[in-house]
């Protein structure tokens, strides 16, 4: 049993912390609040030290590190609410692409793209199917094959980063059930309508009209692809959420220690202190299950049921902790906490977004296998 980081992980964390901290001055973030909360400069800085390719294989120009190490960077990203959508691009996008095309027919097809993703030249996102498993999904994309060419038609809304991504992998229904397709977002037949998410980040509504696409997986392989994407994404979000929650608790502690009312710091009132204690306990529970998910993904891989289950558990915890922690920390701040001149609001908005994106607690609990 071991809950400590390796020396390499500590170094990588320090590097990530430095870069995120340097790029998240209040002045800088205020500019980005109005322009889709994405920092090109930060993206390039991360690219220049190889962090965008951290978990991609060395064969593609990545650093070949394990998920646990990627989780360290994601946690720091959450800690600063850094304006780069690493979960959507590095994990749902690039890492999923790498994992799911290993030893498959599509491996050769995606190799050049993976190289460009590792270097940060290209940016990839993913249009996963909705996390809730209902009999009918109102919105969908259909794939049709004519001769050897596939085209996609249909609509997918709120696809993270679709406004700025070069590529996306998309799930679609086809003659053989589900298919996973690689879409060039600049191709004909692809219209991306920019949408703004609650955090201020942009997303895209994909309107596809016979858009040409490459088949990556079909049938059972496609279902496995989605399962892998979810496992990796949930675990990644849990790591991000751990950083965000920890920072919110710290912010709440600092604020209430300094804020004086009735002649004393409000932290001395138990009603206040106990809310923060509860927020701390929630954060530590999240940290614990997030570590379990990252560890299992690193040692067992993303296929075994135990790794998948750990990721799902971690995402449910993330949804709960993000909700409770952000509300309690906002509560102890009072009005000062919602003022946009104070940094907490970005955490609160990002927390709400991360709670719901890829499935919240009610969506995911029914998917946990108990029996």
């Amino acid at each position: 049993m071991n809950f400590s980081l390796t020396d390499t992980q500590i170094e990588i964390r320090e590097l990530a912390t430095r870069i995120f901290r340097d790029h998240t001055t209040q002045e800088r973030l205020r500019q980005l609040d109005r322009t889709g909360y994405f920092d090109e400069e930060l993206w390039r800085s991360l690219a220049s030290v190889g962090l965008l390719g951290l978990a991609l294989d060395e064969a593609h120009g990545g650093m070949g590190m394990d998920f646990e190490t990627l989780a360290v960077v994601l946690q720091e990203c959450g800690r600063f609410v850094a304006p780069v959508p690493l979960v959507a691009t590095l994990v749902s996008g690039a890492l999923t692409l790498q994992c799911c095309t290993k030893d498959s027919d599509a491996q050769a097809l995606v190799a050049p793209l993976l190289k460009r993703l590792a270097s940060g030249e290209a940016l990839m996102t993913a249009a996963l199917p909705a996390a809730k498993r209902t009999a009918k999904n109102a919105q969908g994309v259909t794939a049709v094959q004519v001769n050897r060419n596939w085209t996609l038609s249909g609509i997918r809304s709120a696809v993270p980063c679709a406004d700025k991504a070069d590529h996306a992998w998309v799930s679609a229904s086809c003659a053989d059930g589900m298919g996973i397709f690689l879409l060039d977002l600049h191709a004909t037949g692809v219209a991306v309508e920019r949408q703004t998410l609650t955090s201020g980040e942009y997303a895209g509504r994909l309107v596809l009209n016979h858009a040409p696409a490459d088949l990556l997986a079909v049938g059972q392989q496609a279902l496995d692809w989605v399962a892998t994407a979810e496992t990796l994404t949930w675990a990644a979000q849990a790591a991000w959420a751990t950083g965000a929650c920890a920072e919110m608790v710290l912010m709440g502690s600092t604020y209430t220690t300094e804020r004086v009312q009735f002649g004393k710091p409000i932290a001395t009132f138990q009603a206040v202190a106990h809310q923060l204690a509860d927020a701390c306990i929630d954060t530590e529970c999240l940290r614990a299950v997030s570590i379990q998910a990252s560890c299992r993904l690193s040692t067992e891989g993303y296929m075994p049921a135990s790794a998948r289950e750990a990721a799902l558990v971690a995402k449910v915890w993330a949804a709960d902790a993000l909700h409770r922690v952000s509300h309690k920390v906002q509560q102890v701040h009072g009005g000062a906490g919602v003022d946009r001149d104070y940094p907490l609001f970005r955490y609160a908005m990002a927390a709400k977004q991360a709670e719901v994106m890829y499935g919240g607690r009610e969506t995911l609990l029914p998917r946990l296998e108990v029996f």
């Binding site: 049993m1 071991n2 809950f3 560890c295 609990l365 946990l368």
Partner: protein, 389 residues
């Protein structure tokens, strides 16, 4: 990092599990434990089993090597207590894991070797005499007095919630030795009081759940040799072992038990199998599982921190709050699934020999026993988050 048990720890866990199930929780012991006067132990089968635990080396397992023990690390200690509680064994954690080693380190040589041997052989048990009618959470307010007399001390006072005193050979007693009560915790000392000492008496307290005791000290004389540690310096002895004890109170195996019982009934009992098709049942079970996973890892992490030399104070307190509240919540959600049958304490169709019904009546103490959750939250806030007092 590694959050799953290592092969060595897994082997250990399995061997403890098997031993508890096969050698300790035999039907006769199970039956005896259900009798109210023997809930915590003290019956004839209990003593047989304690001696067996002693003879088989389990009690000494958790003691440091330098005290003649097995030197089990904190994770192993946690696993040992966890498996025992999972099996429903009234594991003698005070003597085996907490007070026993403190006594071995701080008791005077004249009594130490004899008492230690008795404990390790499973012949003697200790009960804790801390709380009093006017000193619960505010323990430093305690009033039981020990006055210096010729050759020893004369003790007068009363203790409450002295669980297991009715069958223990010794009371581990906190008393005020400095007459100035304003010194609070700085004027306290710890004594080992044999329960056959004249002036000592014990009366049962019947609670909604388990039985416990009040103990009375009327001019109880103990020789000088029975002072443990330094005079007026009892407080560190009292607080020293608290962190591992808190984990033991809410160990995963113990809190998960009602979930395990419910799962077994849903899967294997005709009366309940149809509920597997109900979405609300599946959801309740999923939610319980999600929370129990967190408790499992919180316990492991706290034990690991203690093993690595940290105090684990904040982690143990956080885990105690979470685990105790989860215990109560699971009683409610699992009880709903099991329905009216969960209310039966006796008669046909009783579930798990009454274990399910007892959960609520025995369980409400978890959030205030072993350190009230309000105080645990204070520890998280002050020691963990550095909030000012």
């Amino acid at each position: 990092m590694q959050t799953d048990l290592s092969p060595e720890h897994l082997d250990f866990q399995q061997s403890v599990r098997a031993y508890m199930a096969q050698s300790i929780m035999t039907p006769d012991f199970s039956a005896e434990l259900q009798r109210p006067e023997f809930n915590h132990g003290g019956g004839p089968v209990y003593w047989q089993k304690m001696r067996q635990l002693g003879a088989d080396g389990w009690i000494r397992l958790s003691w440091p090597k330098e005290l003649g023990g097995g030197g089990a690390d904190a994770v192993q200690q946690y696993l040992l207590v966890n498996e025992a509680k999972r099996a429903g064994v009234p594991w003698p954690s005070l003597s085996a894991n907490s007070i026993g080693p403190v006594l071995a380190n701080h008791a005077q040589p004249a009594i130490r070797d004899r008492v230690v041997r008795e404990i390790l052989d499973g012949e003697s048990y200790l009960a804790i005499g801390y709380s009093e009618p006017s000193a619960g959470s505010d323990l430093a307010n305690l009033r039981t007095r020990a006055e210096k007399v010729d050759g020893g001390w004369c003790i007068n006072g009363q203790k409450i919630w002295t669980s297991c005193a009715n069958f223990s050979q010794y009371i581990w007693l906190a008393a005020r030795t400095d007459p100035d009560p304003s010194l609070r915790h700085k004027g306290l000392s710890v004594f080992l009081v044999p329960t056959d000492t004249p002036g000592y008496s014990c009366t049962p307290i019947h609670t909604m759940g388990v039985g416990t005791n009040a103990t009375y000290y009327q001019d109880v004389f103990v020789p000088d040799t029975h002072l443990v540690g330094e005079l007026h310096r009892g407080w560190p002895l009292i607080t020293g072992q608290l962190n591992l004890e808190r984990l033991a109170l809410v160990s995963h195996g113990h809190v998960a038990r009602i979930y395990d019982e419910t799962l077994e009934l849903l899967l294997g009992d005709e009366r309940f199998r149809h509920l597997l098709d109900e979405p609300w049942v599946r959801r309740s079970m999923a939610e319980a599982k999600v929370k129990l996973e967190a408790l499992k890892l919180m316990c492991f992490r706290a034990a690991w921190i203690i093993q690595e030399g940290g105090s684990g104070m904040v982690e143990a307190s956080a885990t105690k709050v979470f685990g105790s509240e989860l215990y109560v919540e699971l009683g409610r959600s699992m009880g709903e699934i099991l329905g009216t049958a969960s209310l039966l304490s006796d008669g046909p169709e009783v579930l798990a020999e009454g274990y399910v019904e007892r959960w609520y009546r025995r369980g409400t103490v978890h959030t205030f026993g072993g350190g009230a959750n309000e105080l645990q939250r204070n520890i998280v806030a002050q020691a963990g988050l550095k909030l000012p007092r």
